[in-house]
């Protein structure tokens, strides 16, 4: 019991540090892309900037707008943050470093991360703000649609490795990463695009679409509640990258360096790519995004599943 408690604490600590690092990385990458310098004043090249931001957010007044649906408004940040923490349970950082190697790990992580949509919708509904409501509605439609191609592409990995345990999948990639197999390359692309949509990143950031909905579902949040949304967003980004690493990029396996380093390198590489994408692409429109999910990604994932499944059985 105490061991799992310690592991939980370690996960929380990791989330805090990882979110702060991601925020710093995001700001730096955006600055480099835009020929700026980014944060420079606090710490070496602004490394302590996220700490300063956190302190600021902690000290800020928690504003409760008039006429909010208090319960859903108050609970929403937790519904967004808690699943993210829960998902960390089954992420294999190295051969030993995994909180809980469930034998349904993939299923668990996929189901847990989809709870987020509930929190986002609660935030949108509870805020008593039209922009928030629109953002929440958009988010619900978006996340549910993109769940389908995401799961279909993950299913292919499960079929390939024959196990749902995260460590088992990593072990199955001992002789070559899954991404190197052509049908799984396609699955990776589908997974990555859908996962980007899952975590509301550009070009699929329509729930918070700054230029249309001000800030979408978290328009009315301030202080620590806003910080929780923020942490959830960045941790979510790390989680989808970590899952992609585990499922397609061979997890913690790699030569010379220890497993943990390889895992973090790969994951943060993907996180950095997500950020690069954010600062490059424009946003797609709601209906375009939905038709992309249902008319392109889902048929493609299904076809991929059918064809490669046929080959596997044969």
């Amino acid at each position: 019991m105490s061991v799992i408690f310690l592991k939980g604490l370690a996960v929380l600590g990791f989330i805090a540090v990882s979110a702060m690092f991601s925020i710093w990385l995001e700001r730096k990458i955006s600055a480099w892309i835009q020929n700026r310098m980014g944060p420079m004043m606090t710490g070496f090249h602004g490394t302590l900037q996220p700490v300063a931001d956190t302190i600021k957010l902690l000290l800020k007044e928690d504003i409760v707008p008039k006429g909010v649906d208090f319960l859903s408004w108050w609970l929403a940040p937790f519904f967004v943050t808690v699943p993210v923490v829960m998902a960390f349970l089954v992420i294999p950082f190295s051969s030993k470093w995994i909180a809980l190697d469930l034998n349904v790990g993939v299923l668990y992580v996929c189901s847990v991360t989809s709870i987020c949509v509930l929190g986002i919708f609660m935030a949108g509904w509870g805020s008593n703000n039209k922009y928030s409501l629109l953002g929440g509605m958009r988010s619900a439609a978006q996340i549910i649609s993109y769940e389908v191609p995401l799961l279909l592409s993950v299913l292919l990995v499960v079929m390939q490795s024959g196990t749902m345990s995260m460590q088992g999948i990593v072990a199955a990639q001992e002789h070559g990463w899954f991404i190197l197999k052509p049908h799984l390359t396609l699955a990776f692309l589908i997974y990555f695009i859908s996962a980007t949509a899952e975590v509301n990143r550009v070009p699929f950031d329509i729930p918070e679409a700054e230029s249309e909905l001000v800030a979408g579902y978290h328009t009315e949040y301030s202080g620590m509640k806003f910080a929780m949304f923020f942490v959830a967003e960045y941790t979510n980004m790390f989680i989808i990258s970590a899952i992609a690493t585990t499922l397609f990029l061979g997890g913690w396996q790699g030569p010379f360096l220890p497993g943990l380093v390889w895992f973090l390198l790969k994951s943060y590489g993907l996180v950095a790519f997500l950020m690069w994408m954010r600062w490059t692409l424009p946003r797609v429109r709601m209906d375009q995004m939905m038709s992309f999910a249902w008319k392109v990604l889902t048929p493609m994932a299904l076809l991929n599943l059918l064809i490669s499944g046929w080959f596997m059985v044969k």
């Binding site: 020929n35 420079m40 490059t280 692409l281």
Partner: protein, 145 residues
């Protein structure tokens, strides 16, 4: 359909190329409070005055589009020399057009190079006494040049 997908993908990759190329370039901004940009020769900052040069011709008062300057003088006992009794600059009304500096026949009034202008009290900005030597001393970096 497939062709559209591929050309679309290619166009996105092109965008990635552009941003990546820019990522390797040097930043164009300055590390502001530490490194400061020198202002150009003609930069129009705050209105400044060299009281000794002023001949009290009232040209600046008349050209000022926003009536930001206020000048009063008195004639000394010898009925010839005039001295300024009040020369006040209203930093809030000023639109920094530089007309006063342009019209001044003796270059007594001019616009200096100050661009970081902030005051603790609103009324301090409204009545800046141009006759004082240290009028911009309290402002960060404000040297009466």
């Amino acid at each position: 359909m497939m062709i559209r997908l591929f050309t679309g993908f290619y166009s996105i990759l092109k965008g990635f190329k552009v941003t990546f190329k820019n990522m390797l370039k040097k930043p164009v901004t300055l590390n502001y409070p530490i490194v400061k940009k020198p202002m150009t020769d003609r930069f129009r900052g705050m209105v400044d005055l060299v009281p000794e040069k002023c001949v009290i011709c009232y040209q600046c008062i008349k050209i000022c589009p926003t009536a930001a300057l206020e000048l009063e003088h008195k004639v000394l006992e010898d009925n010839k020399t005039k001295t300024i009794t009040k020369f006040v600059f209203n930093g809030e009304l000023c639109c920094f057009c530089g007309f006063c500096g342009e019209i001044c026949p003796t270059d007594a009034i001019f616009l200096n190079k100050m661009y970081e202008v902030s005051y603790f009290a609103h009324k301090d900005l409204l009545t800046i006494d141009l006759m004082r030597k240290d009028k911009y001393k309290h402002v960060d970096g404000g040297e009466s040049s």
